[in-house]
């Protein structure tokens, strides 16, 4: 089956409805919901102690990174990750949706395919990550209008970038049959790097972290801008993030042209 032509633009109000519906479904199992949210927040908290002990032991900064810088990166990445998986939780499921033929269900609906796929699932534990990032930010930085504004902007950028990277990696499934294992590993890779001071890496790793594994866009450049704001550098960051979003959308739509239906019959309830 070839995918077909015009669809209505994706209404913003539908995002709100998806969120309300997914949240209501999660809260139905109240204990499991609370355990997941607070369990994840507690889970993340452990790493504060790691950095506290390390900074106390060495008694100085780590090549320009203070404790508060590391906590800022943790805060925007945790909240950004949480926002991404709460609002667009289906990004990490794209491979499965494609290779099982579940995409047919979305293609039959009169809405733009990619946003309809992305917004239709919520990862509940992401609420814990989102809240944890906010608490960590408030606890480790002065709450001024300038700081809060930058925090909000960077959380939104991290969420957008993480989702775009997932869409890009998982879209490879359209071309290679099943790229799920690669996409899951590649998506986690940037997070593995970004939670450590960017200044510790050198040589080819620096190039890698500014391109294929964009940890620099997620954390290293935002923390530098948070310390000292530079409008030109900020503009370049937006452009770089935007480029990755455009590439991800293009990859998904190119892949969609190659998609062949499994003639799967299903419903979304």
């Amino acid at each position: 089956m070839r995918t077909v032509g015009r669809r209505r633009a994706f209404p913003v109000s539908l995002i709100g409805r998806y969120l309300r519906f997914n949240l209501a479904a999660a809260i139905e199992y109240r204990t499991a919901f609370l355990v997941q949210v607070f369990g994840m927040a507690l889970n993340n908290s452990a790493f504060i102690f790691f950095w506290l002990i390390l900074f106390e032991r060495i008694g100085s900064d780590i090549r320009g990174y203070e404790f508060s810088d590391v906590m800022f990166v943790w805060a925007i990445v945790a909240s950004g990750y949480g926002l991404a998986v709460v609002v667009m939780g289906n990004a990490s499921q794209i491979s499965r949706i494609v290779y099982t033929g579940e995409l047919d269900v979305y293609l039959l609906q009169p809405k733009t395919v990619l946003p309809n796929v992305l917004f239709s699932r919520m990862v509940v534990s992401g609420i814990g990550d989102f809240l944890y990032g906010i608490v960590l930010f408030v606890a480790t930085h002065p709450v001024t209008a300038r700081n809060v504004a930058l925090f909000v902007v960077f959380v939104a950028l991290v969420a957008t970038l993480m989702t775009a990277m997932r869409v890009l990696y998982h879209s490879l499934t359209f071309f290679f049959g099943n790229a799920e294992a690669f996409a899951l590993t590649a998506s986690d890779l940037a997070v593995s790097f970004v939670l450590y001071p960017g200044s510790i890496f050198r040589g080819p790793a620096v190039w890698l972290l500014h391109s294929l594994v964009p940890a620099a866009l997620m954390g290293y450049i935002p923390v530098a801008l948070f310390r000292e704001f530079d409008p030109v550098r900020f503009g370049l960051l937006i452009l770089a993030d935007g480029a990755i979003v455009v590439i991800a959308i293009a990859a998904f739509h190119l892949g969609l042209r190659r998609y062949e239906s499994g003639n799967r019959i299903g419903t979304r309830t």
Binding site: Q36, I53, E56, R57, I62, T185, D188, L189, Y196, I200
Partner: protein, 262 residues
């Protein structure tokens, strides 16, 4: 004779795992990434002083290969036992001529040992490339293998105890997250407990979490016979306590199993 059936379960579990090892290693690209990240971090941190709390960069990176090897080779006993409890499969196991707890322990340890062997080899290669060979590696190895195995048994027992709580709570993953983070922090997963402030180090050394990570890794990177004895005795005590706890919980939990024919 009674133990031989559990040794057979252990052996079968090791053999089963060899079929899945390529997939397991592909997933553990993460291990190499973590070693690279910590190599980069320690290179900067140790550039200032050379030695921190008596450890060199070589010892500290190799230390991580052993603690991570124990952590990454964890078995699926937590998921298996939790699923058995939730879907009621455990009722069938009660009629079989073995102890469900010891059977699960043998199966879990077998699975973990098979994974461990491969992770240790990868850790050996990667750490050698990054910081060079670990002095005293081969002389510490016979002792280290014993306490690394003890760490694996402790981990499987922890998972078994947590999984059995599913009789009461159904969902046990948050307990697992908490345990994992206690091992990460108080167990000295990322760096030796000597890095901690003194007051915290004194407490952390005797807690069970240290016997799953710190003591086995320390035996390999800073071997002393006294340290090895502390590791063995501590592990034996905590293995005994956790095994008794698992058997006790299971005995209590059995009363909650209801069979409805079928």
């Amino acid at each position: 004779m009674a133990m031989s059936k559990y040794l057979d379960v252990f052996r079968f579990s090791v053999r089963d795992q060899t079929a899945y090892l390529p997939a397991f290693m592909a997933r553990n690209l993460f291990f190499v990434v973590i070693l690279f990240v910590f190599f980069s971090l320690w290179r900067v941190v140790f550039a200032e002083s050379g030695v921190i709390a008596g450890f060199t960069i070589v010892q500290t990176l190799w230390y991580l290969t052993f603690t991570e090897a124990i952590e990454l080779s964890r078995s699926s006993v937590l998921q298996t036992v939790q699923a058995d409890v939730k879907d009621g499969t455990i009722a069938y196991d009660l009629t079989r001529p073995y102890s469900y707890v010891v059977f699960s322990l043998a199966r879990g340890v077998g699975e973990a040992v098979a994974k461990l062997a491969l992770v240790l080899v990868v850790g050996f290669v990667v750490a050698t490339v990054f910081v060079g060979p670990l002095p005293g590696y081969f002389s510490a190895l016979p002792f280290g293998v014993l306490v690394i195995f003890g760490g694996i048994v402790l981990n499987v027992l922890w998972h078994l105890v947590i999984a059995l709580l599913a009789f009461w709570t159904e969902e046990v993953m948050p307990f697992h997250w908490i345990l994992q983070k206690l091992v990460f922090i108080l167990g000295g997963m990322f760096f030796p407990i000597e890095f901690f402030p003194d007051w915290l180090a004194r407490i952390a050394r005797v807690l069970p979490f240290a016997f799953s990570a710190y003591w086995p890794a320390r035996t390999m990177v800073a071997f002393s016979f006294d340290g090895f004895l502390v590791a063995v005795v501590g592990q034996a005590i905590y293995i005994g306590v956790l095994l008794a706890l698992a058997l006790g919980i299971f005995a209590l939990a059995k009363r909650r199993v209801h069979a409805h024919g079928g």
